[in-house]
Symmetry: D2
Subunit: 334 residues, 4 copies
């Protein structure tokens, strides 16, 4: 961490600050210029409050040199992590498609979709049993019954299952769920992150609606700090001023995250765009951008879907885009 002092700082003020910094167990290197003084802080600076430091009268500016995340940092773990998802690997060259309906609605629906997406090449089945809805009056999911139906679809098709957990008190009934999704709205629900950090479940961590990539990595760090390193990151669109699409899919986050972290990155174009007609081109673009996987909503009857039907592909549309995506993957792998 580097701290620049203002030109008119007295020696006494400077020494007072250095004393305070050393009290926080960092070493301070002084570089005296003719205009300003630079303090280089060496050691574990993760505890230093950068905003407090910046607010001091004598401080011109402060800059963190090293990233505040450690366990997910590629610097300390240069190889890609390969994350096991109920037998399906994601990351490190292993690409996988997660598909299924927004919500689990019935046995026929979920088993039918599972068989269909498997036939088209999906490797994991998604389906929501607990749904975060903006309105308390909207359908909130089938809860335990939904999870039981997902398990049945898993038994029939062999596809591992992905489902969202919203309340740690429900953890027990997620035993058969292979990948626990933490939704965008809970990305900074730190108590939930700490709790799942003490489990050994594979976690799909979605980027919050208006969170930076560094915040996403710090949330992954919360889980990893508890001992659980089985994390897949997921980009699902960010909130901007543009209203034509539900959110703005930030595809450049794929190469950025691959640079910053060893964790795999999956892209969800369904929630990002909110319109099924925009999903296919964003699936192809995500594959071309180097994503480690795709998560897509598929519904056999989007018009009757209880939730988010507008963004679901039909099984036929999904099958078509899977074939085209496969060609793109071949093209970028060569």
């Amino acid at each position: 961490m580097i701290t620049v002092l203002k030109p008119n700082t007295t020696d006494e003020q400077r020494d007072h600050l250095i004393h305070w910094l050393e009290g926080q167990k960092v070493q301070v290197h002084i570089s005296q210029g003719d205009q300003y003084t630079i303090l280089g802080l060496v050691g574990d600076t993760t505890h230093i409050d950068i905003e407090l430091l910046e607010s001091l009268e004598i401080v011109q500016s402060v800059k963190r040199v090293s990233e505040p995340f450690k366990k997910c940092n590629r610097k300390f773990h240069p190889e890609d992590s390969v994350i096991d998802c109920g037998g399906v690997p994601i990351g490190g060259g292993h690409f996988a498609v997660i598909a299924g309906p927004c919500s689990v609605e019935s046995r026929d629906q979920i088993v039918g979709i599972a068989q269909s997406v498997k036939a088209s090449g999906a490797k994991l089945l998604r389906g929501g049993a607990f749904k975060p809805r903006t309105s308390p009056y909207d359908f909130q999911g089938l809860h335990a019954d939904g999870l039981a139906l997902l398990s049945e679809a898993k038994k029939v098709t062999g596809l591992p299952i992905v489902s969202e957990l919203m309340d740690i008190r429900d953890l027990d009934i997620f035993e058969d769920v292979d990948v626990i999704q933490i939704g965008a709205r809970n990305m900074q629900n730190f108590e939930l992150l700490k709790s799942i950090g003490r489990t050994n479940k594979t976690i799909l961590l979605k980027r919050g609606l208006a969170n930076t990539l560094k915040e996403l990595l710090m949330s992954a760090e919360y889980i990893m700090a508890g001992g659980n390193e089985n994390i897949i990151l997921c980009e699902r669109g960010i909130r901007t001023y543009e209203t034509y699409t539900r959110n703005t899919l930030d595809l450049s986050c794929v190469p950025v995250l691959h640079e910053l972290t060893h964790l795999p990155v999956v892209v969800d174009p369904s929630h990002a765009t909110g319109h099924s007609n925009l999903v296919p081109s964003m699936v192809l673009a995500a594959a071309a951008a180097g994503a480690d996987g795709i998560m897509v909503e598929v519904h056999n009857d989007p018009i009757h879907a209880l939730c988010d039907g507008a963004q679901s592909l039909t099984p036929a549309q999904f099958d078509d885009v899977m074939k085209r995506m496969e060609k793109v993957l071949e093209a970028v792998r060569q």
Copy 2:
């Protein structure tokens, strides 16, 4: 809700849609123009998936006529709600200042600040015992010990206390807390909202970092739907592209919320700006804008504060701004 059909819709398609809508228990009024057909949907349309409707081939556009929030809607409750905060009323002409440190650190600190802010005119004491921090390596609060120290400060000064709850499993130890704060990052933690909706505690609900005012009201609706109508809304700055301030304080939300809802609105300029030197003018502006209260961070020793010292006022600065604010309140009340 109004649905506009595309010009080339056939009668059969139109009737099929109407049949589907009526199956969702709304009445449909048809207005046939020479260019387009307008369907007026009457009845309880809160369950209709507006995005699904919009995605249909034959639908040009859909518009909700009535707001999706009910219990917090001023239309159905024209008078201002006055919320009791441990004996201190907020709303409906009752203005109150909530002040205190970001985090509770020690008995001396919290009791000293409580006495000091009370002397300057604060009506409630705030202090964090559970702190949502972006990094798992940052100070997370004193937890139960912090709440005990807050209670002691309350006993000494008589000030009711405000503190943030992050995990519903901690509810029991918040018994002596008069106002439970739900932080910005948990504004859409719907499970937490549902749980506190079943209590009778007064809730200070902070607007999320990137949430619209309608989403804020829908989150209030989650709490009220459970039976708890003791809610104070709090604006604390939203995330924008501007980086000079930590967030952008959206003061125009005060008159907007007063129009949409009967719930009181409090403004927190400390978190919004992130810099103590910007806080005083934003306190005055919030008072002039018609806020029902202000929440400000005050610390006797900002430079040593364990959290967010950069944005805290000293007791002397707080005393000064309180005097100036009092004059502004008089000016706008006349």
Copy 3:
């Protein structure tokens, strides 16, 4: 346009409004429901001030049914426009790469880069002679000399040239420029748009830093309203809260724009990301998303570039990404 009146509107108020609307030469169709009255406005509603209408006491809400853009609207021109760029077609299945340095610096530089990018498959040469810089103290371009050097590179290589016009008073010296670029900061410089709308030059119109797709189309409409329909749209990243990339590339705008307009859409990943290491994956993603072309910065010596060197590819990097992009194009075309 649809206007919904509030439940308590009197007949007299309603008739007064209808009279006023009819005075603006639109026909009004009334649909009386039991709760609210809907006015359907038919005819040329482009002149109606939607915000004024919304602000009236008796009006609940207003919704525009048809888009406010006409000449660039795909509804009235279903086939893709193919735009001629000095002999190179773009749009309607014709894909082209525009490459070159941010700024023209010298004869050797621009001719050398032109030869190099042509060898790698670029179809047009870009180079800035007038540079919009945030600071008045930064390099502003070689102006007329820069354009002369571009012409020379065109003569040597045969590549048509693309360069930015910032001031209509400079139009004369752009005679030999095949495609005039209107930069992001001038997207709503309406006087400039009107002026170039009266020329017959091909225009590359960049989306503004914080402009919606509808605003981009309205700016195209400004040019087309003057008679010039030779327009190519360009996505170059939008401003969001994320700071890791310079801007956020909004790739989903490609399928959205293809739906709304017949004009071709080109993607500029260099300005969007601001980092050369992120450019290749965004080139591939843009090609996969269905863009009609790519605009990329290439510099033979990025470290000495007078402007934006950070985001330029070297000729070798460009050659490599061109080969990979070609494969992606083949994959998505099949």
Copy 4:
């Protein structure tokens, strides 16, 4: 400017970079730590391309220590600038209200409004003759005729006049205009800024829709670099994801700008909110926040206004808010 080198940089690489930097006429001070090397750059660093520097292989990060703006920087000009607006001073304790219609429509309209706002205490008259409209089909203003009508209103009332210039070729007909407004969409129309920088007209520079405060100051710097230092800055709302208000009024920019620059800051709540019912509370808030003036839209007949009627106050509403604002100004001055 401070440049931090990566831990594994060789001495040769470091010396190569220093040589390059010295070639750009800055002195380089080396501070060798055990982990990283810090280069302190002293001298005129305004020409150094910070993004290029950051993109180099061996560079960890770069930080500018001094602001890139000079002439508008408060550091080099500690006293408030007082700007003359046709005889009315703004800044340095001189507060003034600018009021009038969005567009000049007729002699009766503009003279009538001028007399009315003068009676209520306005010090300057605003009125648009050239209107930047998103659509080419919307009313674009009366142009020269509008300016002539403004002059007449000035003659009758003695109020100096403020009007927007969109095209430098129109400068001649602005001779009688006391304050030239540069609109939000032209804040980075650098050629226009340079041209008006060579005049001696007073300029009201509006912040762009999505521009940072630093960019606003850099645009002021463009004008000042040409010799014209008569500049008033104007906050008029920024673009965010919130849709309830047209834009989000960033009132915290008032204390921020007062800290960074000596130029006065005026607030326009009419364009920011877009709804006349929100304007009064934002006028009071801006006055309380320490603004040097307010710019408000007033129209004698908002329902028939040709442009932006939705956000205009009636003369009676304006008179009322002026009285309340006066009391707030007294309160904050004490």
